[in-house]
């Protein structure tokens, strides 16, 4: 193998990493907002799957991937409403709620998928294309890795500082973070706890739905059962490993995406090792990351504990 060839592969792996980060990043940064508000949404995986499925149906039915993106966000929002109803209004245990939602959506999407493709060949769609950023994309190496991506990938990366700003530099963010630490303080001041919990869950779920939509429209041309394959769970791990801070979450997502990118390249290159070993890497990494980062210092104190006045 020549140097040039190795260089090209390295660039391709890194560019793939950035692309693969996109859906997980949307979900992780969105759910970070939810978790900082004290709601431990375990239904990320299901929410993402619903986003992906609705994006598929709308993309194939209308032929417009941008309408499909909007539909995926809407689908995420609807799932978020259900999650918020169960956790904030009914105050069912957060973990049980998320589990129920995951199981429900896994079944629902499969059922609707079978109905949708009944009696015909599975329709496909034209997914997103790369949109190189002028000037920046001509920087050697970096241009190809960072600035020759899908539009939503840029949006995902920009959402990290945006969410950081919202959480740490606005009154709204302060109140939201307070919800995760001491909801009673808000309640005593006469600010609505439940309404803020709904907002936080909705932001997280809409972003997760968007992540699912991108997963569908940015990587593939057709839906498969359980296409999210644990990416929603990786988003949750990224939040824990990133100690509930946007920077940390970004770093953890990058680790998972790099491993997945390596795995896909190894498959293409045909290395003589069972490809399952490489596919398993992100999941192994998630356990190892959690073993190494035992400190839970950043965890909101009231995370996952329903608030009773």
């Amino acid at each position: 193998m020549g140097d040039l060839f190795q260089e090209a592969i390295l660039v391709s792996i890194l560019a793939g990493t950035v692309r693969i980060m996109t859906p997980i990043l949307f979900a992780a940064i969105g759910e970070l907002v939810t978790q900082r508000a004290g709601i431990w949404n375990m239904g990320v995986e299901g929410t993402m799957l619903m986003g992906a499925f609705i994006a598929y149906v709308v993309a194939t039915a209308t032929g417009s991937i941008w309408i499909a993106v909007l539909a995926a966000m809407l689908a995420g929002g609807v799932v978020g409403l259900l999650t918020a109803f169960m956790t904030a209004t009914m105050r069912v245990d957060h973990f049980i709620t998320g589990l129920g939602i995951n199981l429900l959506i896994s079944g629902l999407t499969l059922y609707w998928f079978r109905i949708y493709i009944k009696g015909r060949a599975q329709p496909t769609f034209e997914g997103f294309e790369n949109v190189p950023i002028p000037v920046l994309s001509s920087i050697p190496y970096l241009g190809e890795i960072l600035f020759t991506q899908r539009i939503l990938t840029y949006v995902a990366f920009l959402s990290v500082p945006a969410i950081w700003f919202l959480l740490y530099r606005t009154r709204w963010g302060l109140e939201l973070r307070c919800l995760g630490e001491n909801p009673k303080a808000l309640d005593i001041k006469g600010l609505s706890v439940v309404r803020r919990q709904y907002t936080a869950v909705l932001i997280g779920s809409i972003m997760t739905g968007l992540g699912g939509g991108f997963l569908m429209l940015g990587f593939s041309d057709r839906f498969l059962a359980d296409i999210t394959a644990g990416r929603g769970w990786l988003a949750i791990v990224a939040i824990i490993a990133g100690r509930w801070m946007p920077r940390g979450v970004l770093a953890a997502v990058a680790v998972f995406a790099l491993l997945e990118s390596v795995a896909t390249h190894v498959q293409v290159l045909g290395v003589d090792i069972p490809h399952q070993i490489f596919l398993a890497l992100p999941y192994v990494a998630s356990i190892v990351l959690l073993m190494m980062l035992r400190s839970k210092s950043g965890e909101p104190r009231r995370l996952g504990i329903p608030y009773f006045r």
């Binding site: 009914m90 199981l103 896994s106 079944g107 059922y111 644990g230 769970w233 398993a280």
Partner: protein, 370 residues
């Protein structure tokens, strides 16, 4: 974090967890659960309408396929066998408030353990052969459960996350073993992602002249009885239930919570592993992934709907086995995709969760000045 803040957390958490203490009023609770079933069926009916099929025809076909004849009842009981077992695995873990969702992976590892046993113990007398296969299957499930418990106890890794990740990992391992690895069916030119058929001596005998119902169903019932005795009549069961109520008091009493967690996960894993054994050696007679798919996750729903009690789990397991078995009939007669069943199960879980909260509502109001 100070002790008192931990205590408030635990106290406020226990209020909404699946507690079994003071039941408000049995009649009210029963009414709520009936309402949950009715709403669940109504939502399912809406779902059937989205497929354009006739709702009544679909439900009729579903029930006829599930319980319409002796043959279909036997088929239902065969389908319910692994579901009861994974449901029981859920009961053991969740009663201790160990939130394992590893039943799915443990079914696979149990099946793999048993298949391994069936290869290495071949040639032994039949009863010994079968016992060793079953034992190695249970060990297979128990190992996976034990790993999650150790990760939780030693490294503070949430069992929710570790079990989910292991569910994915074990499928990759199986996919390697039967899709190109050493256990792949040899004779075929195409790789089917399955092993060859298991020897006849290793297959669980059928019961009552049925071609579907097998000895595994007896194991499921016996396991339910064992789980009941374990939870209600033994010191370990007391610790498990106490762990669910008040782990801090239990720790003060001198109980080693870490050890109990490991025991809970090992038992839960072994029971889930047994589900894998029953499915492979009772029904499909070869190791393949698709027959095991979703048994573990469905078991979580069954355990929850069964109220985390062994008897409730058996009943819910048979009902869900009926759905799984009637689904094929419904697909033939009413052209509703069989995937309706997992969707319906998810709906039922959510309506039951809401019913459980609604049934406790009065208690919540009394306790909730905090």
């Amino acid at each position: 974090m100070t002790i008192s803040s931990v205590e408030t957390q635990i106290a406020s958490k226990s209020r909404l967890k699946i507690e079994r203490r003071v039941n408000p009023k049995t009649s009210w609770t029963v009414f709520m659960y009936l309402l949950a079933v009715v709403i669940g069926f109504a939502l399912t009916a809406l779902l059937i309408m989205t497929s354009g099929a006739d709702v009544f025809k679909a439900f009729a076909a579903l029930f006829k396929g599930a319980f319409g004849s002796q043959k279909s009842v036997f088929a239902t009981l065969a389908k319910s066998t692994p579901l009861i077992l994974t449901g029981l695995a859920t009961v053991v873990a969740f009663r201790a408030q160990v939130w394992s969702i590893g039943q799915e992976g443990q079914v696979y590892s149990g099946a793999m353990g048993a298949y391994f046993g069936c290869l290495i113990f071949a040639g032994l007398p039949v009863w010994m052969y079968l016992s060793l296969i079953i034992l190695s299957g249970m060990i297979g499930g128990a190992i996976l459960g034990g790993i999650a418990a150790i990760l939780k106890d030693r490294f503070d890794v949430s069992e929710i996350i570790s079990t989910v990740m292991m569910n994915y990992l074990i499928v990759f391992l199986l996919s390697y073993l039967i899709g190109g690895g050493p256990w792949t069916e040899v004779s075929s030119t195409v790789v089917y992602q399955q092993t060859g058929p298991v020897p006849e001596a290793s297959q669980l005998p059928h019961l009552l002249g049925s071609s579907k119902l097998h000895l595994g169903f007896v194991f499921a019932l016996v396991s339910a009885l064992v789980c009941y005795v374990l939870l209600e009549k033994t010191p370990l069961g007391y610790e498990i239930r106490a762990m669910g109520f008040n782990p801090i008091a239990l720790a003060y009493r001198g109980t080693n919570i870490g050890r109990t967690t490991v025991l809970v996960m090992v038992i839960s894993g072994a029971v889930a592993g047994l589900a894998g054994v029953a499915e492979i050696f009772g029904t499909s007679h070869r190791l393949r992934a698709d027959t095991l798919y979703n048994l573990g996750y469905t078991g979580i729903i069954i355990g929850m709907i069964g109220g985390l009690r062994p008897l409730g789990t058996v009943i819910a397991g048979i009902a869900f086995g009926g759905l799984a078995s009637g689904a094929l009939y419904m697909k033939l007669l009413a052209q509703v995709p069989a995937a309706l069943v997992p969707a319906m199960q998810g709906i039922m879980l959510l309506t039951f969760l809401c019913a459980a909260v609604a049934a406790r509502y009065k208690i919540v109001r009394i306790q909730s000045d905090g």
